[in-house]
Amino acid sequence: MSFSTNFSSKAVLLLFTFLLCLSGCASTTDPAIRLLKDSAAIEKKLRIAVLPLSNLSSTPTPLKDIRQLLIESFKSQGLDILDEEVLERFIVKHRIRYVGGITRMTAQDFRWETGADAVLITSLELYSDISPPKIALTSRLVSTGNDPTILWMDGIGLAGDDSMGILELFLIENPQKLVRKAVRHLSTSLAEYFSAERYLKGGQREIVKFWPNVFYRSPIFEPGMKYTVAVIPFFNLSQRNYAGEIMALHFVKQLTALDNFTAIEPGVVRDALLQYRIIMDAGMSYAQTDLLASKLNVDLILTGKIFDYQDYKGFAGTAKVDFSALLIEKKSREVVWASESRNEGDDGVFFFDWGQINTAHAMASEMVLTTVETLVE
């Protein structure tokens, strides 16, 4: 009897300790259901022009095949896609070379010449067909007309070994299969935006793991106010080409999802940087911030530095992301928010790669989401 009492009390104690340990490393479930920006335009069926993919991977990639898959997937979701010939003629006529964004002028021309209501801009960030394959895509839907606005934005980073399961039963070795999975995610997300149910449910998130190392928010910054923000490509100190542009896209995506922030279309920001010949030596000066903020009519300029944005090929390696970001307010001419984050894919991983993140995109996405939350909470 004594044995059984002792044993049960020990069992309870062990269970309690175990639960206590678990709570220490627990990931926080985000209960918030994020409402995407509402728009009167989505009430009617939009005609969408799917631009050729922008290659930010710096590797040879089957861009045309991925684009074709995207178009087929969108059509299967019942979306109205602009005819290929019309789009081709428009691109040739306007000599469009840059497909990573659209300028105000291009947005107007798109509306009046092709009748497209929105343009889908997709950036391929990572593509590797070495087993296990990897892919990272970011897409956004931008309205055409006088004021190009980001209506929807989503991204995905996948690796074939993300969820291998027991005996590697669920290991994806075929790159085509992985591409289809990524494309399906994006088209479903876009279709949800058009559907009556315009909600994105927050999944299981590890806030503690991705919390910024350091962050600062000025007392003059009011989190509840509505702000328009221009995200400048980050100053790239990493080995990865286009890491600055990729980080900017991550921030645009997360800011677009916030109710009180309106992110300017990156193509418009790029056009202004080129037009006013703004070259950043080590970041934005106050004079450059003033000029850009007044020309783009924004309240805030977000910029930063990227030190590491590292993916790896095959099974062995670790994804790394290391960046710092700061927000300069036009009115006060001050840094109103700053943060610094660094994570590796195997942070907090102790047993059998359980919880490992295999792409820099997936990790950066979580890091930026957590970072952006420090802006509003």
Partner: protein, 196 residues
């Protein structure tokens, strides 16, 4: 009786040897830090963190440590830190040949352009992995100094070293703490010394 006396002598000998061995590992206890007692650090409103001189093998070490330090200093809320882009503009306008080690005249000219109360310069002496035999670990060693513009004096200097190969690393080969962890530890120590 004779035997007991021998044991006592032996005990004393062991104790004195033990104490003597401790003195071999002792540090001098002299601090290399300086904190101007006549300076009112609360009066400082705006500071600029200049690019750090990098004496390590990692070519990004200076910029990484500077970024962590500038953000951490800003996060204290005690002073406003000028963004690096504005510092770069000031460096270009003042025509500083070596912004990591400017002369006093250059600092005054630079501070007049970007309107700061103090300028912080620094040196990253070590950053990255060190090896000793089969053991390895990460190490960081940073020295900083603050020059106040009004008095044109160095009002604070401090250095911090973190990481390195511990007994644990030698025995179990753990590889030491990650670089960002020891960088933050070193920066926090420097900030503690600044605001003490």
């Amino acid at each position: 009786m004779m035997r007991l006396g021998n044991i006592t002598i032996l005990k004393k000998l062991i104790l004195s040897l033990l104490l003597a061995s401790f003195t071999a590992c002792a540090t001098s206890g002299i601090s290399t830090d300086f904190h101007d007692p006549g300076m009112d650090f609360g009066a400082l409103r705006t500071v600029a963190v200049m690019p750090f001189e990098n004496l390590s093998r990692d070519k990004l070490a200076g910029e990484r440590v500077r970024d962590t330090f500038a953000n951490s200093l800003l996060a204290t809320g005690a002073v406003y830190v000028i963004p690096t882009g504005e510092v770069a503009r000031g460096v270009a306008r003042a025509g500083l040949l070596n912004p990591a080690a400017p002369s006093l005249e250059e600092i005054v000219k630079f501070a007049g352009i970007i309107k700061v109360d103090a300028v912080i310069t620094g040196v990253v002496r070590e950053y990255g992995e060190v090896r000793s035999g089969s053991a390895s670990a990460n190490i960081i060693s940073v020295s900083l100094q603050m020059i106040e513009i009004q008095t044109r004096k160095v009002v604070w200097t401090a250095s911090s070293s973190k990481g390195g190969i511990s007994v644990w690393d030698r025995l179990f080969g753990s590889g030491g703490e990650p670089m960002n962890v020891i960088t933050r530890a070193a920066v926090n120590e420097l900030l503690d010394k600044l605001f003490k």
